[in-house]
Amino acid sequence: MDDERTLIERLRAGDESAFTEIVEHYYGYLLPLAKFYVSNRAVAEEVVQEAWLAILKGIDRFEERSSFKTWLSRIVMNLARTRGVRESRMVPFSEFADEEVSGSEPAVDPERFRVATDEYPDHWSIAPRPWNAAPEAQLLASETMAVLDDALELLPEAQQLVLTMRDVNGCTAEEVCNVLAISETNQRVLLHRARSKVRGILENHYANSDAQRSAHP
């Protein structure tokens, strides 16, 4: 992508290809933000579409005090929120975050560690086995992608959004904290819980497919 400032200048000048580039670049990023606040993907898509019109109307007023990404995020989130499809979504993201970071939530099933009376308590009793049954290219194939999609859907919503922003869309921790208005600590706890769960789901998946392979060589 062209340098962002140049792209914005081109967009202001009415350059259609700049618009297309920006839309393609940010669409996948904006959709999960909208999806957090509305009931389903179709509505989220409508919200994002509506947001692009608001972005065009507002582009002359965009001042580079905040990053372009943050500015886009705010427009989408405001629209999604006012849509108010689900009443529970009227509360700010930070309240969901507080809820999801409260209480303890072990990264790994406690039963996989040795008990307190053991000579080495809290060390692995069932250690993770390497996922080297297949070459990495194969692990990154569409099957894994389908497992990841399902895994993301299973996550509590704040964890799902933080993980999507960080690991799928490559946002920095700082960007996530700014856009979602959460503390750095909460951001990290949500990320940790989400990543740990997804690792566990992948582990189950590979364990099952290994078992199938050895049953039907």
Binding site: G14, E16, F19, T20, V23, E24, Y27, G28, Y29, L31, P32, E45, Q49, W52, L53, L56, K57, P106, A107, V108, P110, F113, E119, Y120, P121, D122, H123, W124, I126, A127, P128, R129, P130, W131, E136, L139, L140, T144, M145, L148, D149, L163, D167, V168, N169, G170, A173, R188, L191, H192, R195, S196, V198, R199, L202, E203
Partner: protein, 99 residues
Amino acid sequence: MRIQTRSEARILKEGQNVADAEMTCKELTELITDYLEERLPETERIRFEQHLSICPGCVTYLEQMRFTIKALGVKPRGEIPKATESDLLQAFRSWKNSR
């Protein structure tokens, strides 16, 4: 999976300067994101890495976390539906004409 025998584990344990400071596997699984985010205080990072140097299970765990992150990063992102794309282009053109 490689299970350490007790005697093996004991030798490793004696090799530690402060036995009490040894990190447990459970602790490591909870600190792993702070480690990957480079947010662990120096002393904790050292304990973390010392534990890794004696624990194949935790090395695997760390590899799996890194793989998970990598796999999420190559996951295809949401694509623009074709209809949306053409609607947006139309909207862009009328926005441009109204300026």
